[in-house]
């Protein structure tokens, strides 16, 4: 193969996956995400499935809550893998699988829009996305990444089904869509509009232009069939989730989140939620706009990207608030930025192809540097940003205290532990009134205040401290006897409301506080306990559809004949190899 051919050929998908493995594999095996915001939360959920696969009622948080409030697929896979490698490494492996699936999904999604060469560049670029590194290593949003990767893999089947009426594509697309929903519901709901909308639109364009065999009416009718079957399946697979959300809609006071802030009014927020996730893609924005607008087939993708981009800006524009209404106060918006970067990748793949055609080795070096600097900046930001999770706390002594001498007959609270709260909860037998999942909270002491976890109460100002005061005021009601403090900020309150320091751990880093007249904890009656049949569904359908999708992908091969996007093909004058 000559150097010229080397530049003009697409990069093999296997090579791209190996690059993803080479970049993210070591970082995940080093357990870099262990300090992220949500990793311990996911491990906590998984630990429950290890012991209670068919019983989603978990007593360890909020004096009892249902895990049917969060799609279970990633947690159940961690639970399965944990039997071999342990919980933490199980998490890392599931995250690694999601990260490896992502470039595959980007490649296949990009093939709807651009030729194979540009799609391969898009897939390679997705490995180095700042938004991906942000979600994996800083936010720990396992489910969002996994669901997006699955969803991107489902969309080409959706397109094929619409344009070719391929039964195999229908079956595979449906199975992967169900799996994506079982991983994360929010991705599916918004993906329907932001990702599937442009795909539907381009299928109609292709049908009208006779680029594919289907008619516009046929494409539309098949889209409806696909949507109905996926909708019914998602309704069943996540049935207990929908029932729980219908029974207890989220009526709690909105909790502030910095992704909803106006990025222009706070430079640190802007760096955290815009500069780091987009990285070098910021330089490509003008090209994305111009190239996306210049080709008719790319316009649906451009508009989808633009809408997602605007949503990712959070409170920088009023559009998300206008369109989402009350849901605006529940969602966080960094995931939209991630989706926007994924939607931009096909056009960025075109940019890479153009640059390589024009500047050859210089372009290869420049693009490589841009990619490496983007992910490098995101990894550097892990230690440089003021939003990073508090340094890791050794909670072994707290766990040991709770698990001995009958201390687990009472409930406990941690203060100043950040995401380590979930780690304590994972390994102790004792139960807590706090928890790290806002949507599952039903205790009035928490839902009446605009604050998230009690362990982070101070970060929510008067609302957070109000919630904490409310809970301390009702300590006897909940059997709340022990409080572990990792931040002296809370000590004055505990002193004035009648708690006394009883022990110190880790050379004084953590103090244990107790209240003497607290009775042992008793079961709090709740109408949110799912019946046994829901537990059975929850334990079988989500994992079942993922196994079905895996089976179909492996044993039901089908040739994919993506349309050649003739408008996009640009003649290359000369080709060189780096």
């Amino acid at each position: 193969m000559s150097t010229a051919e080397g530049y003009s050929r697409p990069i093999p998908l296997l090579a791209i996956v190996l690059v993803a493995l080479a970049v993210h594999g070591p970082l995940l095996l080093m357990q870099l995400p262990a300090g992220s915001f949500d990793t311990n939360f996911h491990i906590f959920f998984a630990s429950h499935y290890v012991h209670h696969w068919f019983d989603p009622w978990n007593e360890k948080w909020f004096a009892g809550f249902s895990q049917t409030t969060y799609p279970p697929l990633t947690h159940q896979w961690i639970a399965l893998l944990s039997n071999v490698v342990g919980l933490k490494m199980g998490y890392m492996l599931v995250q690694l699988i999601a990260v490896l699936l992502l470039p595959v999904g980007v490649f296949r999604f990009a093939r709807i829009w651009v030729d194979e060469r540009a799609a391969s560049y898009a897939a390679l670029g997705s490995v180095f996305l700042g938004a991906l590194a942000f979600l994996v290593y800083q936010a720990g949003q396992l489910a969002t990444v996994a669901s997006a990767a699955l969803y991107l893999n489902a969309l080409p089947y959706f397109y094929e089904w619409m344009t070719e009426a391929s039964g195999r594509s229908l079956i595979k697309g449906i199975a992967i869509s169900w799996t994506a929903a079982a991983a994360h519901h929010v991705t599916l709901i918004f993906g329907l509009v932001l990702f599937a909308g442009p795909v539907l639109w381009v299928a109609c364009i292709d049908a009208r232009d006779e680029r594919v065999a289907a008619s516009t009416t046929g494409a539309l009718s098949r889209a409806i069939v696909f949507a109905i079957v996926v909708g019914l399946g998602v309704g069943a697979v996540l049935g207990p989730y929908w029932l729980s959300i219908l029974q207890h809609p989220i009526h709690q006071v909105p909790i502030p989140h910095d992704s909803r802030a106006n990025l222009l009014l706070n430079s640190i927020t802007a760096v955290n939620y815009f500069v780091i996730p987009y990285g070098a893609l910021i330089l490509a924005l003008p090209f994305i706009l111009m190239r996306g607008a210049s080709l008719r087939r790319l316009r649906p993708l451009l508009l989808g990207f633009w809408l997602t981009f605007i949503f990712g800006l959070g409170g920088t524009t009023p559009l998300p608030r206008w369109l989402l209404g009350r849901a605006y106060e529940i969602l966080t918006f960094e995931r939209f930025t991630f989706w926007a970067t994924l939607m931009a990748m096909p056009i960025v793949g075109l940019l890479a192809a153009d640059l390589l055609d024009r500047f050859r080795a210089k372009a290869a070096v420049g693009l490589s540097l841009a990619a490496v600097m983007t992910i490098g900046a995101a990894l550097t930001w892990l230690t440089a940003n003021p939003y990073r999770p508090a340094g890791s706390v050794n909670v072994d002594s707290v766990v040991a205290f709770l698990n001995r001498d009958g201390h687990d007959t009472y409930r406990y609270l941690t203060l100043g532990f950040g995401s380590e709260l979930a780690k304590v909860s994972t390994y102790t037998n004792a139960t807590s009134v706090d928890g790290d999942y806002n949507s599952a909270r039903l205790l009035p002491e928490m839902t009446h205040y605009g604050a998230a976890q009690l362990t982070n109460a101070k970060f929510y100002g008067s609302a957070g401290m109000g919630a904490l005061r409310g809970m301390l005021d009702h300590a006897n009601r909940y059997g709340l006897k022990y409080i572990f403090v990792h931040d002296a900020y809370y000590e004055p309150l505990l002193t004035f409301v009648g708690w006394r320091k009883v022990d110190t751990f880790n050379n004084g880093e953590i103090t244990a506080w107790s209240k003497d007249d607290v009775p042992p904890a008793h079961k709090i009656v709740s109408d949110a306990v799912p019946p046994a049949w829901q537990g059975l569904l929850w334990g079988t359908l989500p994992i079942g559809v993922s196994l079905l999708a895996l089976f179909l992908e492996l044993f039901l091969p089908g040739g994919r004949r993506m349309p050649v996007p003739v408008e996009i093909s640009a003649p290359a004058e000369e080709h060189y190899v780096a």
């Binding site: 502030p256 909803r260 009023p318 004055p492």
Partner: protein, 379 residues
């Protein structure tokens, strides 16, 4: 379409951003993470006294000390370290734990050259929301308004030896299993000496006084349950932070138990329950309450003013004042509390203020003040 669509998308984006900047889509962030500043050119000019104060408070909330100090008038009698200490507190005081959460400002007077603005500052603190009213003087300098920060008089404590002869009760517990309270000896004898249930704006309130009649210190918690006509409990609450939990022998403390959203008319009976446990305690630090008087403040509210004098040799980081107010018959008609946001250095005094409802001001004849305290490392 090749150029029209990008131009349209950019124009709509800019329009949406402008709409948000002019107040449509603002959303609060978390309070404790304070960093960053607006991008250049997006901080409004201090064209009015209120805007100058708003800019100053934004910088202070984000702890951009240099920018905040630069916004002060040159006529301010304060250097930057003193300014920071005045705002952020020192010596482990309540202010050092506090964050400015919001404020309301009201101009008192304004001319073209200077203005006086009264600001009600809303602080988020570990002990709950605290309000502070402060008057700011501003002058017009150059093309904008600047805040004149008054000279700060920090208390100075001369080097000295302070002899102490206070009582202290130590406790030898039976072992690690006993926790902090003693379970092997009788509980201290503690008695509720008065109780009064009243209706307030927020619901019902049960209050009174409790005394430690024993010769050993006691850790005290007062609980109350409201019972309706059919004998069912309506709600039960505890004295929480409206009590001095550690009572030395013969010491009396007020208590107040709030029942939010409970109408007193539905209550037929109140079940009181006082729990006491033997605890180690000491009479140090000794804090004197001086110059107490009940006066209206600048806003016309009835406020009990006074001075706390730290008579011992250690710093009291957060003083907490609890006052019971009596009518002419000696009945407790209200219990109120307040935190002092500056620490009490040894042998120095700090003012305190406790507000009482306007409707009760006329009934109050006498009052009794108890001082509770938090000292770093001595919980």
């Amino acid at each position: 379409m090749r150029f029209a669509l990008p131009i349209l998308l950019v124009a709509v984006t800019v329009g949406l951003i402008a709409a948000a900047l002019f107040g449509v889509g603002q959303a609060g962030g978390t309070v404790g993470i304070a960093a960053g500043s607006a991008l250049p050119g997006l901080t409004p000019n201090a064209g009015t006294p209120e805007q100058a104060l708003a800019n100053l408070f934004t910088d202070l909330q984000r702890r951009n000390w240099n920018r905040a100090f630069a916004a002060l008038s040159k006529t301010s009698g304060v250097d930057e370290p003193s300014f920071i200490q005045d705002w952020a507190g020192a010596n482990g005081s309540l202010r050092t734990f506090s964050n400015l959460e919001g404020y309301d400002s009201r101009p008192l007077h304004a001319t073209s050259d200077d203005a006086q603005v009264r600001v009600r500052l809303h602080w988020a603190t570990p002990v709950g929301p605290v309000e502070d009213v402060r008057d700011f003087h501003l002058t017009h300098e150059g093309d904008g308004w600047k805040v004149v920060w008054p000279k700060v008089e920090a208390p100075t404590v001369p080097a000295q030896v302070v002899p102490v002869t206070y009582l202290r009760w130590d406790l030898i517990s039976g072992g690690a299993e006993d926790g902090w309270g003693s379970r092997n000896v009788d509980s201290p004898h503690v008695r509720i000496i008065s109780m009064n249930a009243v209706e307030s704006a927020e619901g019902s309130v049960v209050m009174g006084e409790v005394v430690n009649e024993d010769t050993i210190p006691a850790f005290v918690n007062v609980n109350a349950a409201l019972v309706d006509g059919s004998g069912n409990a309506i709600d039960d609450e505890s004295s929480f932070d409206k009590i001095a939990h550690v009572l030395l022998p013969k010491q009396v403390s007020p208590y107040r138990i709030d029942f939010p959203n409970i109408n007193l008319k539905n209550v037929k009976n109140v079940r009181m329950d006082v729990k006491a446990t033997l605890v180690p305690a000491s009479a140090d630090p000794v804090i004197g309450v001086m110059d107490q008087k009940l006066d209206p403040d600048v806003q016309g509210k009835s406020v009990l003013h006074g001075e706390l004098l730290n008579q011992s040799g250690q710093t009291v980081n957060i003083p907490h004042v609890i006052a019971s107010f009596y009518d002419s018959n000696g009945k407790v008609v209200w219990v109120a509390d307040g935190y002092v946001d500056r620490s009490l250095l040894p042998q120095t005094s700090e003012p305190f203020a406790v507000e009482i409802p306007r409707t009760l001001a006329g009934k109050v004849q006498t009052f009794h003040v108890v001082v509770n305290q938090y000292s770093l490392g001595k919980s």
